[in-house]
Amino acid sequence: MMKGFSSGIVIIAVAVLAAFGGWWYWTQDGMVLLGDETATTGTTTPATGESASGGTSSPGGATDGSQTGGTSSGGGTAPAGSGVDGIVADIENSGSAEASQANSENGTESATQLNSSLNNQTIYGQ
């Protein structure tokens, strides 16, 4: 009698938990997972080409002489270096490879190998 009573309590408890879980699942992101895409599309980031700050892009080619350098944003911007600032920046950086090359010269004339060879050279009695 008692055994049947306990089993009934367990079954009821499992059923309550399952019902609660289903409700929670449904009210949280269950809707999304089940295909209501409007829940995500409304929060996606702007598509490519849109400015995050509301469309202040300034294509380089159209603003020669007044471009403020590196402030253009989003799609539709001109290639780097097409404005005066960009061109001058390219010229300014044209010496970086020279500097890297100049600093890359390091000698390897160490005597490590010689010393090792001499240390192993037998003279007498070793």
């Binding site: 020669d64 002489g65 007044s66 270096g81 097409s82 005066v84 600032d85 061109i87 001058v88 390219d90 010229i91 300014e92 044209s94 010496g95 970086s96 490879a97 020279e98 500097a99 890297s100 090359q101 100049a102 600093n103 890359s104 010269e105 390091n106 000698g107 390897t108 004339e109 160490s110 005597a111 010689l114 010393n115 060879s117 001499l118 240390n119 050279q121 037998t122 003279i123 007498y124 009695g125 070793q126």
Partner: protein, 242 residues
């Protein structure tokens, strides 16, 4: 009869073992003085091998250094060529943008200023490299001199020990004592030689020279950029006034 055969077999076996063992045993102390000249000759030959290694090292090092520096110069020249090309491309773009006389004049001034700055930069980089190489050469010369000196001291010490050994043998000193003394003297000379070579290192000097070179090159680049930035101000002003 059987015992005789057995005894002969044992004796033969013992002989087979004893002959190779005796052949591997170094000359015992009693024969040391008898063979002192041969020993001395062998030691001289080995010291000659040491000197030969050092000579070869010096020659190889000089060749390697020269080849590396030549390679570096070629790479530096190529890097500069690329830089010149990029700069020329920039000038073409600026020329294309300059439509008024004022703008064209501003571009011409900008180009002149930049070219002067480039010449200054290249000269500064060349000077930095030259200073580095001069320093490396001096360090190598010092290192070589110290190496030669250590080798000469080593040879002198060993020769002195050999002469002493010969003298002791001639004087009738116990050959075992002579041999022990010679071995000890040569070990001492060898340890001194080894310590001298260990202390004689280029590492710190080279790093210091490279750091100095880097600082000079960085300064040259910074000065160049500052010149270009300054020239850019006038250039932009010309383009902003329509």
């Amino acid at each position: 009869m059987v015992s005789k055969i057995l005894a002969s077999t044992v004796a033969f076996a013992a002989l087979l073992v004893a002959v190779p063992v005796s052949a591997q045993t170094p000359p015992n102390a009693s024969s040391f003085c008898t063979n002192i000249d041969a020993t001395a000759s062998q030691i001289q030959t080995r010291m000659g091998e040491v000197s030969a290694k050092i000579t070869e090292f010096k020659a190889t090092r000089n060749t390697t250094r020269s080849e590396r520096w030549s390679g570096q110069e070629a790479k530096l020249s190529a890097a500069r060529g690329n830089g010149d090309t990029k700069r020329a491309e920039g000038y073409v773009k600026l020329d294309a943008k300059a439509t008024t006389d004022a703008q064209k004049a501003a571009v011409a001034t900008f180009k002149n200023t930049v070219e002067v700055a480039v010449t200054t930069r290249k000269a500064a980089v060349d000077a930095a490299i030259a200073a580095y190489r001069t320093g490396v050469d001096a360090a190598l010369a010092t290192h070589t001199a110290a190496l030669d000196s250590a080798d000469a001291a080593f040879e002198a010490s060993v020769n002195t020990a050999l002469e002493q050994a010969k003298s002791d043998c001639a004087a009738g000193v116990d050959p075992a004592t002579v041999r022990t003394t010679l071995t000890s003297s040569i070990k001492s000379a060898r340890d001194t030689f080894q310590a001298a070579r260990k202390e004689n290192t280029l590492k710190g000097t080279r790093e210091s020279l490279a750091a100095t070179r880097k600082a000079a090159v960085d300064t040259a680049i910074a000065n160049f950029k500052a010149s270009v930035e300054s020239a850019k101000t006038d250039l932009k002003a010309a383009f902003e006034v329509e």
